[in-house]
């Protein structure tokens, strides 16, 4: 795997996820017997470099949110490795790569200072009974970092940085608009100086003009604080805009991962091609020749044999129905899980 990029902003690998799985048991009957599993995340491998944004796209139910929550162990993964370069565990703050899934509770809590989250819904993700100041201070209090005076100044600084005013400190979430609430959520995420921020659909609940403001803010903050983002979203235009690299998920698996320009221009997986062709373009003269995907998304509790995408894939052959394709690096930094990736000529944007 390449670990550095020509761009000076992007550094070495910060997070590497290998073979991540999360199966939710389906329990039935009086004895709550396990009768099957929902394979929400089924073999996800990806990596994020320092200062980089990795977009994670896919249709609803494809496991992108579950995967991002497994990384920070909000859900306990069933299998796999989450290798993270942390500075929180060594006494002198020197970096060391650890598997987050092997950490004990106390160690994990320390690492969580370095990984923050921003949620989709700016209404439900803020406690309505707490003031803005309490909301932003909460991570510091939980991690024992709150110091009177110093922390208050930091909160005011954070508020300013996300475009709110110090006189907003004593107000409650309901007094703010959706875009402002998302800014409060962003300020809270930054409170502990994280290095990786998991953004779960951070702009999909916002209006177009507010969405643009928020995306610009996220990019500015990334520059300033050298943040890495995992940006989970279903809007492919937004993901292309903000991401350096993009991973496409389908029914619990990453099916393709590449630099965002490469992925959008030269997709190698038929699902990516179909998804890109379905995006409505804001141009009335654009003649759409989109690919119609037959049928519905596969059921993650009873996925088809072979490649999960084969029942909807116009290029499927017998091999696709039999054998699960391997996720491999076909071109430098362009990964794909498709048997026919070499021979197919797919259409990008």
């Amino acid at each position: 795997m390449s670990t550095s990029a020509p761009n000076g902003r992007i550094g070495e690998t910060l997070l590497e996820v290998k073979g991540l799985k999360k199966y939710f048991p389906i329990q039935r009957g009086l004895l709550r017997r396990t009768v099957g599993y929902v394979k929400a995340v089924d073999d996800v491998s990806l990596y994020v470099r320092e200062g980089e944004t990795l977009g994670l796209v896919g249709e609803s139910g494809c496991g992108k949110t579950t995967a991002s929550r497994c990384i920070i162990r909000l859900y306990e993964p069933t299998a796999g490795q989450v290798l993270f370069k942390t500075r929180a565990l060594s006494p002198d703050g020197s970096p060391q790569v650890v598997n987050l899934l092997e950490l004990n509770r106390e160690q994990m809590n320390r690492v969580r200072e370095e990984i923050a989250m921003i949620f989709q819904d700016p209404i439900n993700s803020l406690n309505p009974r707490m003031t803005v100041s309490d909301i932003i201070a909460e991570p510091m209090v939980i991690h024992g970092k709150y110091q009177k005076g110093v922390s208050e100044e930091r909160i005011i600084e954070l508020l300013r940085r996300v475009g709110l005013r110090p006189d907003h400190l004593r107000r409650y979430p309901h007094e703010f608009s959706g875009g402002q609430r998302q800014r409060i959520g962003i300020a809270r995420a930054l409170a502990l100086n994280p290095r990786l921020v998991l953004c779960d659909e951070p702009v999909s609940a916002l209006d177009v003009s507010i969405q643009a403001q928020t995306l610009n803010l996220l990019q500015d903050l990334q520059q300033e604080f050298k943040l890495s983002y995992i940006f989970v979203a279903h809007d492919l235009s937004v993901v292309q805009h903000i991401s350096d690299r993009v991973a496409v998920m389908y029914v619990g698996k990453v099916v393709e991962m590449a630099g965002s320009e490469e992925l959008y221009a030269n997709p190698l997986h038929p699902y990516t091609e179909a998804l890109l062709s379905a995006v409505p373009k804001p141009d009335p003269l654009y003649k759409s020749d989109r690919i119609i995907m037959q049928g519905d998304v596969a059921d993650p509790s009873n996925p088809p044999k072979g490649c999960y995408f084969h029942p909807r894939c116009q290029y499927a052959i017998d091999l696709c129905r039999q054998k699960t394709p391997e996720f491999r690096e076909l071109k430098p930094d362009h990964w794909v899980a498709c048997h026919r990736a070499e021979e197919l000529k797919l259409r990008g944007i």
Partner: protein
């Protein structure tokens, strides 16, 4: 209520008949603390078979407009001015019902009366945004089924086929068997797999995308003259969205149905609408043919809106052009042009003082902006 029975509706230069004419519509909400002008002087028309898009951000009044047409403005809102002329030519006239064209001013119709019930859900159908929240769990099968279905809620305790058949029978003269047959056909047209079996399933057995397709099937099963689609695909994935837009386009072609398409998604509207109305804070700020609007926008708000969406394709700039500031408090609107505090073309002493008029800026192109006034 019925103004006149006349031979012909107004037609346009290309010979198409006008179906709905909204003239200077005003809707106000009297709340504690003041009056919100949710819709303030909206004027547009929709021809038969035409799609008109209404775009704007949340709170701009686009959904209230849709509800005003169907006389479903929630309390304490009310229509305080203007007219909504509906040129009615019933597709499935009941015996004894007039067959000629009628002109009905919907603003004067009793919102709970028999006339609006015939129109709402049958002649003018509606699809709402969220298939999930349209599912009202407190409804039992006995609750005004026709009304509920015509308002496009799926009843959780009733089979899809029965729900669809009720709606179809309320607006078309068919037997229960025929209605069921139509329901199966409609489900097939909207791409529900195995419609003969699905017609006997309950709403909770469907996925979100399928539920939305069922809502569309119900809305279209009465062969409406007009469909009001309020963010019909916002909660859906792109692949399902594309399917549903295809279905709507196809039914429009085959049934000459007009569509009022309300959305904030500029990509969707570009591929669907023929004409677009842009709204901001209850006011119509621009109206034009879709190509003119996207390629030659006149109002600074429209321009900013178009620039603030990320576009697919080779990366150009790193930052998005965003509209500065926030949507103003509707109880405390700015003076002059409501957009002036956020406007990049703000002219001090002018935009904050003078309320702009509705200016014609081109053929079939209007904008409410002082840049286009002498």
């Amino acid at each position: 209520m019925t103004l006149t029975a006349q031979e012909t509706a107004p037609t346009t230069t290309d010979g198409r008949e006008v179906l709905l004419e909204v003239q200077d519509l005003k809707v106000e909400f009297n709340i504690r603390g003041g009056v919100i002008k949710a819709v303030d002087g909206l004027t547009f028309d929709i021809k038969r078979g035409q799609t008109v898009g209404i775009i704007g951000e949340s709170g701009c009044g686009k959904s209230v407009t849709a509800r005003a047409i169907l006389r479903m403005v929630p309390k304490p809102g009310r229509i305080t001015g203007g007219r909504i002329l509906y040129y009615r030519r019933p597709r499935h006239p009941k015996p004894g019902q007039p067959q000629d064209l009628q002109v009905i001013d919907l603003t004067t119709v009793d919102p709970d009366g028999e006339l609006i019930r015939q129109i709402r859900g049958g002649e003018i159908a509606m699809i709402f945004q969220e298939p999930m929240s349209s599912l009202t769990p407190v409804y039992t099968a006995g609750t005004h089924i026709n009304e509920a279905v015509s308002l496009h809620r799926l009843l959780p305790l009733k089979k899809l086929g029965d729900q669809m058949a009720e709606t179809i029978m309320a607006y078309r003269h068919v037997t229960r068997e025929e209605a069921r047959e139509i329901a199966v056909q409609m489900l097939r047209r909207v791409g529900i797999p195995k419609p003969e079996q699905r017609v006997d399933s309950y709403p909770h057995q469907l996925s979100g995308g399928q539920r939305q397709r069922v809502m569309i099937a119900i809305a279209l099963s009465t062969e409406p003259s007009m469909l009001i689609a309020d963010e019909p695909t916002t909660a859906l994935d792109v692949s399902i969205e594309a399917q549903i837009l295809d279905i709507m386009r196809e039914l429009q072609r085959t049934a000459n149905m007009a569509i009022m398409f309300i959305t904030h998604n500029l990509g969707v509207i570009a591929s669907m609408a023929e004409e677009i109305v842009v709204m901001y804070m209850g006011k119509q700020v621009e109206r034009a043919k879709v190509v003119d609007l996207f390629y030659n926008p006149k109002h600074p708000y429209t321009k900013a809106l178009l620039q603030s969406v990320p576009r697919l394709g080779p990366k150009t700039g790193q930052r998005l052009a965003s509209i500065e500031g926030m949507v103003p408090d509707p109880l405390n609107l700015p003076t002059g042009c409501v957009f002036h505090p956020r406007c990049p073309a703000f002219m001090p002493g002018k935009c904050d003082k003078i309320v702009p008029r509705w200016n014609q800026v081109g053929e079939n192109h209007w904008a409410r902006c002082l840049l286009y006034e002498e």
